[in-house]
Each structure stands twice: as C-alpha cells, then as structure tokens.
Amino acid sequence: MSAGASEGANSGAIQVNGEVLDVQRTGKYFLMSVTAPGITERARPGQFVTVSMGGEESSMVLRRSFAIQGVQARGMYGGTLDFVVSPVGKGSQWLTKLRRHDPVNLVGPLGKPFTLPTKPVTCVLVGGGYGAAPLIMLAQALRERGCRVDTIIGASTEEKLYGGLELKRVSTSLTLATEDGTAGIRGRVTDCLIDTLNSSKVDVVYACGPMPMLASVAEECTMRKIFSQCSVEESMACGIGVCMTCVLPVIGEDGVTRMLRSCVEGPVFRGDRVRWADIGTIPEGTWGGERLRS
C-alpha cells in the first residue's frame, strides 16, 4: 500500500479476485457467498462491496454495489462474504447465474458503516425488501454489545421479504409486515415502527430499504427526537468516491445543504440530515447551487 493511503477517502478498501462459493435462491432474491480475502477482515455493518460484471470483455463497464450481509473471517476458504442480489437488471442477472468456483472481482469494504452505541441501549432495526440484508450483520454487532434489538422487516409481498430466519435468530424480537398480508401484519414497516415508538422507549433506529421508506422512518424519528441512521441505495458508477454520480442533498453541521456522495460520505446517513423530499433535485440554498438555477 502506498505511503499516502492513510489519507485516502476509502482507506482500507482493496480490490481482490474472489471466487463464488454458493448461490442460493431465497424468494425473489439470491444470496451469494464469495471468498473475499482481505475484505472480510475489515468489513463492518452497513458497508458494501462492488462487483464487476460480465467478465473481461464485458460491455457492462460499471460495477454493481451490494450491501454486506455477513462475513466469516476464517474457515476452510479463508474469509468469505455474503451479499444479496435482486436480479432486476442485466448485470445482477448475470451475477446470479454464476456457479461455484466462478471468479468474481470485488472492491471493498466501501462506505461509512452504521455507528454503534457505546452503551447497551434499545435499538429498532427497520428493513424494506432486500434492504434487510445489512441489518443481519448489524443486529449481530448490536447484540454483542448487549443492546436490545427489535427488528421490523417488510415488503409488498411475502416472497419479497428477506432475511426473516437470520434476523429472528439475532434479534430480541422480529415483526414482519407485508402490504398484501401474505406474511405477518398487513401494512407497512413504518406503521409497525410508529407503534413501537409510541409504546416503548427507543434510543436509536437503524433503517435500510427504498428511499420512500427511509424518508418515513427518518421523519417519524426526527419528529420524536430519536436518533436514526439510514442506509441509502443510490445508483453509483464507481463506488469509491471519484465519479460524483451518487449524490444526494444532506444538511451539514453548519446548516448548509451539500450534494454528498453516498459511496464515501454514506451510504449510512443520519436520518435528520438528509433532505429526503428533495432527492433528485438541487434544493434551494444548496452549496454551489445558485448558478445552475440562474
């Protein structure tokens, strides 16, 4: 590693050639287990990896990013890493067709992880769809610190729920919600969250899922002055902080809104800092925004 690496924005991230160990279908998604020597040892809950698509002569020039669901630092394959793939595009479909021993090129661990409480506090975890994946690793870390972990996961329908079994094992309690009522409570995760926030004392809320869900979670928490951390999913080109593609408007400690990169300044943001309603725009007053509107 170079001398200036410690000053780098992603210090600790590396690029490695790994190997597929297992591809497992789970509902609408695929759980991929890969060897990722060097990445597993460093990975923390909320971080992600990027994977190159389609092999060497691929016409897909961009990597895809995946939240880390869990790591096994040791074992017969050295470090292994799990992530979930929703096969909705050309790249993710290619990835899920890989088989055991196929090569995968990985960069990681990337991004700012969830920050963990220093005291054994009460935490609520909210996951939407495959956004539940990184909550598995997070729940484990929180339980190791003696925290109470009440997890709520939801989706439009049962087969889009993810991680129920794993989360049940690592959480203090698990609530399921589907919009069509095919599993758990009929309704949205935010309905369950509101009930929990109204009926018990919650210290911190962690969330990962679609933007509208994160916006609601953040709003409910901010209203009640409860600290929330939301992991966003923004479309990225590089994942390492150089392309400026994955930006969203975030209010800084100085009260000024800036377009921040979700890959290096996120993907985990404080819920009360993101201007959720303004994502996809350059809101009034954004640092450096005057000229574009004039």
Binding site: S59, G280, W287, G288, L292
Partner: protein, 348 residues
C-alpha cells in the same frame, strides 16, 4: 527519406524500459495519466495504486466558485460505455488549491489541473489564481464539457470561441506552464479547432471529451438523466478518439496530444500512441477497475516490448509511417525487405 528500423531482437532489460514522454516543456516519467473527472483529485485512487508511479493526475475540472452540479440521476450505463451528467460539481478553485492541490503536492504526484468556466473571464480568473498558487505541472482547459446549461458554453464547438478561451488562459498563466485544450469530438472538423487553439497559445490538445448522448427509459418512457442529455464515455467511443488523434496528428505533426476515450487496456493505450498520442488518460475504466491506470501502464510497457520498441517515443505516431519505408532487422542484424513473409514484430 527517413527509414524506420524495427528491431525484432532483444528488448531492453526489465527495469530500464523508457516510458518517458514530452508534453511541451513538461517531461513525464510515463505517458499514463488519469482523465479529468474520473479520478477526483487523486486521493481516493491512492488506496488502489501509488499515484506517484504513473505519469500524473489530471484533476476534475475546477471552476471559480463552488458548484453543486446537476440533479440526479446523473448516470446511465450504455453498451460498452456510460452517460454522465454530473455538471461539474466541485468545491471552487480556492478550496481546491488549499485542500486538493496541497495534498497532491505533499504526495509528490505530477499534476495537470483541469479548469472550466462559464465565460472567458472565469477561465482567466481561475488561471490567475493557479498562477499565484503554483505547485502544478500543466493546465488542461476544459472547453468541451457537454454538461453545461447552455450549448453556447461548449466553447470547443467553434474555432473562434476555443481560441478566445485559450488566449485568455495563456495570458493569465506563467509562460512556462504547458496548456492543453480539451476538445470535443462533436464538431464537423476537429483539426480546425486544434489548429485554432494551437495558434492561440495552447501547448497541445487533449482529445477527446465525451460525446453528447441520451438514453430514454422505456418503462417510464422518460429520459433517464435528470439533465436529459449527458456525455458518452467508455470503450464505445474509443474508435472516435483514435480517429481524432490520427486526424490532428496528420495535420499538426509537432503538437503534443494527450489521447483519451475508452482506454481499458495497454493495447488500447498503444493504439492511441500509434495514432499520435504523446500521453494517454484513463477515465471511465477507473470506475470499473480503480487500479486501471497502473495496470494499463504495465500492460503498455509489455505491449511496446513485445513489438520490439525500446522506448515509448519510438512508438508515438508509428501508425503514420509509410509501410514501404519499414525495414525489419532480424537477430543476425541483417536487414530484410518488408516484402518477406516471415516478419514477426506484431507478436501477442
């Protein structure tokens, strides 16, 4: 008449291969640079390779004031390429000098600062601030960013506006500082623009910037990019870049050219060198492989060795030679006529 000698014999030993290149008064130890807008200011990439071991870092275009850039979505993947519509997001020149350029200086990286502006006056002011600060090796003048509010601001679309910007930057810069004009391929005659900036005081040209493109989402049936149009980059545009380099080199034999546009491998870099590039910038490939500049530098060296070149310089513009002038020297030192069928200087 000059005769080009291609040796098929022993190449220089591993450690001594001469990758040096000359960009006006600036000598670089390697021709491989990062492309502006694809490497930020080098800091993130330093995690993946030693940024002081390549030719240099071309920083993301900096403007006078901080700039938020365009709304999202800013990116769409396309076949062998991508569209971007970032809109020159950046901290403004003062912050750039204090933070980014200062870091590059401490790190000891060769730095080519890319500058942008909405008017000739802004270009001039940014150049003037750079002159006061110092601590960089060359300026690349981005007169061809397609992601500006007004197509009239794509100065590189016209010879006169291109020349006007370059004159202003030249006037506000140290005489010794090489200035490269970054040109757009979206023009009728790129040679006309290259000639014009060259006469206006540019040391050389950087070709090519992205091409203006567009993608429509067939589900939503709306443009994918918030900015509607964006710049197309990646391997898809490489043949256009090679053509532009070739045309400019043919017309302007002595103007330094920094070639860029979809370079993914050392072989791609070699192609641009053969077309006439004195240096090569690696851009979109960094998004796929953060270590790409270093990998491409090593691959380029190997490609040159494989063909019997003893230095990078020998290969620059080599595709322009008249084939009838090529003479192959075999291991016995005897000259062979090029009509002999067993020549082997293209070996994979």
């Amino acid at each position: 008449m000059t005769r080009t000698i291609i040796s098929t014999g022993k190449a220089a030993p591993e450690s001594t291969f001469d990758l040096r290149t000359q960009l006006g008064s600036l000598e670089l130890q390697s021709p491989v640079l990062t492309a502006s807008g694809c490497a930020a200011a080098g800091r993130e990439l330093d995690n993946y390779f030693d940024i002081t071991a390549i030719g240099g870092i071309v920083t993301k275009s900096i403007m006078l004031a901080p700039r938020s850039g365009r709304a999202t979505p800013r990116m769409a993947e396309t076949p062998s390429g991508m569209l971007n519509s970032i809109g020159l997001q950046g901290p403004g020149v003062e912050s750039f000098l204090e933070t980014d350029l200062a870091w590059l200086q401490r790190r000891g990286a060769r730095t080519i600062v890319s500058i942008a502006g909405g008017t000739a006056d802004e270009f001039g002011k940014v150049a003037a601030k750079l002159r006061v600060a110092g601590g960089f090796d060359a300026i690349e003048v981005n007169i061809s960013c397609p992601n500006v509010e007004d197509r009239g601001q794509v100065f590189a679309c016209r010879a006169d506006t291109s020349a006007q910007i370059i004159q202003t930057v030249r006037r506000n810069s140290d005489n010794k500082i090489p200035i490269f004009a970054k040109l757009s391929p979206d023009v009728t005659d790129i040679v006309e623009i290259a000639t014009s900036v060259s006469q206006a005081g540019a040391t050389g040209v950087s070709v090519i910037n992205t091409l203006l493109g567009m993608v429509i989402d067939t589900q939503t049936m709306r443009p994918v990019l918030a900015g509607v149009t964006g710049g197309l980059s990646g391997p898809a545009i490489r043949p256009i870049a090679v053509r532009c380099i070739w045309q400019i080199r043919s017309a302007l034999p002595n103007v330094p050219i920094i070639g860029m546009g979809g370079v993914r491998t050392g072989q791609d870099a070699l192609e641009m060198v053969l077309a006439g590039a004195n240096a090569i910038s690696v851009g979109t490939s960094i998004f796929n492989d953060p270590g790409a500049p270093m990998r491409i530098q090593k691959e380029l060296e190997q490609e040159l060795r494989n063909r019997g070149f003893e230095s990078l310089t020998q290969a620059i513009s080599f595709a322009h030679r008249e084939v009838s002038e090529a003479v192959i020297e075999d291991e016995t030192g005897e000259s062979k006529d090029e009509s002999e069928p067993d020549w082997d200087f293209i070996s994979e």
